[in-house]
Subunit: 357 residues, 2 copies
DNA sequence: CTGAAAGCGCTTACAG
DNA sequence: CTGAAAGCGCTTACAG
């Protein structure tokens, strides 16, 4: 896309006095100025190899001289593509999505695509509205977080031939492609480690599981581990609460007021874990001496607090990048859309006590 | 925009078996189905009050029945508007931009606009490329961070009649509208407080000032306060470094190795301040007993570390929201584009010691 | 209040 | 390798 390289410099400025009235040059102007047809100009811009060098040079000179930039709408309409990818995430305010989205955008840009963004605030209704909105804006493909939503959404997208990719989850058997990790297995592994450390009284502060398959899978993973070890998965105290620091603090204090204090509180993500840590401080409990805490995600916060939080590291940036690449491959029909699994890894830190020592 | 309300439900599904081949219905299909002209259908969708209820109802029924959604490219081309606003920020990974952008997007959505996002990584060249890219994608207006950039950029935008708004700065005399706060006066006020507390030996860890007018203004604000108090603004040790926690830590240790240890290290933002705090811990210095630290922004991090960081609170969410509203007002020619000033406020916390007590 | 028709600025078979 | 021309699906004066 040569036209993408047009400098701001001299040309843009030259154009100015010639057309102070916003008469942006069109393909036609370029064609006339170069003495060729509009078809040839179009080819120079889109498939230069199909034009002989001699004329191509003349055309490109005219393009620069006039400071020509293709009209977006016309191009979209004729080509039926916008080179735009939409992403709908719960919120940009959580570092994991900000980070993933940043990497997603960078990868998109590297391939000549632009990012259209919307947020759902974890509300299915808002998400559906945003999906329609991005589709109406001509998104060539869509990135969504998680996969648990009304089937009508997927039908809507399929009817319009708009590729979707679900990130943050890995569902090999899904008919839609996914790029992510196994939330359930990850939490199960962490819980196993917690149990290995001698903990038997486990509580959980979970994100809201309704409409959030990642949160639900994490909770299920904890239950898996309990069952694996002959513990009663139904006996775990669980508090579900939106992912906010303050909520983690409140939930933690509530859990500690019960008759049997847990020896460890596992949290649905690091934000809740940091809140739990604060809650512990507020009621004078020492972590990990009095109670252990674990998180999920491994955001910066997890290593900044004292003690640092034992958590699951999730490769957010890589997930964003690979989601972008996979989605573009599908949009450009270069690939059928197989799911990609990324690995999480346990980060043992000060907030989890090994009761065996 | 009624068409925006089309449900996913029955209609989308009904359409399916009729056209398993992706033959998306067009305006023409609707017109034929309702027995009116395309002009009338278009009016029903865009200015319903100009169509008599009787026919409007018939048309809307056809719209729903066919599951019609306007073609984006055609609409853009004919209307010469995309209802899309572009934003280019340094990075989504800094919480302040993530938060501001989130609010910006929400406000955009409330007004029927969609957000196109790109990031510059604080690189002017990348930013210029992104500006061209978003313009090429038909952005109706642009949000940029700060105002210090090549004048050719503004000429380019003006030649294309694309409104720009600079956020994070407040420049009343600028010919472009700005929505933000006075970085220089804010830092000056905080530095004055620091001096009032008895500090005389002040050092600063600044962001890179080249090409970043916010960072430069903050440093200038510190110098202002020093001059105000008869101190030598040229004598302040200053280290400029990119906004990363680790850099703050390194810079802090470097500053502490000098002959005359500062009694306070003021940081260009909270990220650097948190890094400085970590640096202090690493070399066994106690904050604020051995040395004080201040930040800028008041992100969550500032209240999570121990001690909490004295900083300047900046209303990021409000800034994002008001920037969106101001920009749309300009795009829709409802307002001339006056700048809006927001206020920052000093948050005194544990990391700053009052030497007088 | 409604319709016929031009026009928006490209892309892309189809010829040559 | 290049051009004439149709067509993409809307919006919007202009008539009536």
């Amino acid at each position: 896309m040569m036209w993408d390289m047009l400098a701001f410099g001299p040309h843009a400025r030259d154009g100015n006095w010639i057309s102070n009235l916003p008469s942006v040059p069109t393909l036609d102007d370029v064609a006339r100025s170069a003495g060729v047809s509009t078809a040839t100009v179009s080819r120079c811009l889109n498939s230069p190899e199909r034009v002989v060098e001699h004329t191509r040079k003349r055309v490109m000179a005219a393009v620069e001289q006039l400071g020509y930039t293709p009209n977006f709408g016309a191009r979209v309409m004729a080509a039926k593509r916008t080179f735009t990818i939409g992403a709908i995430i719960p919120t940009m305010e959580n570092a994991i999505f900000a980070r993933g989205l940043q990497a997603f955008q960078e990868a998109l840009h590297a391939r000549g695509y632009t990012l259209l963004v919307a947020s759902s605030a974890y509300q299915p209704k808002i998400e559906e509205e945003q999906i329609r909105s991005l589709v109406a804006r001509g998104a060539d493909g869509l990135l969504l977080i998680g996969h648990d939503r009304d089937p009508a959404v997927y039908e809507y997208l399929r009817a319009r031939s708009i590729p979707v990719l679900s990130a943050w989850v890995y569902l090999p058997d899904c008919d839609q492609p996914t790029v992510g990790f196994d939330n359930r297995a990850s939490m199960r592994a962490l819980a196993q480690k917690v149990i290995d450390f001698g903990h038997r009284s486990i509580a959980m502060i979970s994100g809201i599981t309704e409409g959030n398959d990642r949160a639900a899978a994490r909770l299920a993973g904890l239950r898996d581990a309990l069952s694996d070890n002959g513990l009663d998965p139904g006996a775990v105290p669980v508090i579900e609460t939106p992912y906010e620091i303050e909520n983690g603090s409140v939930a933690f204090r509530t859990l500690m007021q019960g008759d049997t204090r847990p020896s460890v509180v596992m949290c649905g993500n690091d934000v809740l874990a940091v809140g739990a840590l604060r809650g512990a401080r507020e009621i004078g409990l020492s972590v990990p001496d009095d109670v252990s805490i674990t998180g999920f995600d491994d955001i910066e916060l997890a290593r900044i607090v004292e003690p640092q939080i034992t958590t699951l590291h999730v490769p957010h940036r890589e997930m964003g990048r690979r989601a972008a690449e996979a989605l573009i491959d599908i949009v450009e029909k270069r690939n059928s859309g197989a799911s990609i699994e990324l690995q999480s890894s346990i980060q043992l830190r000060g907030s989890l006590r090994d009761l065996r020592v």
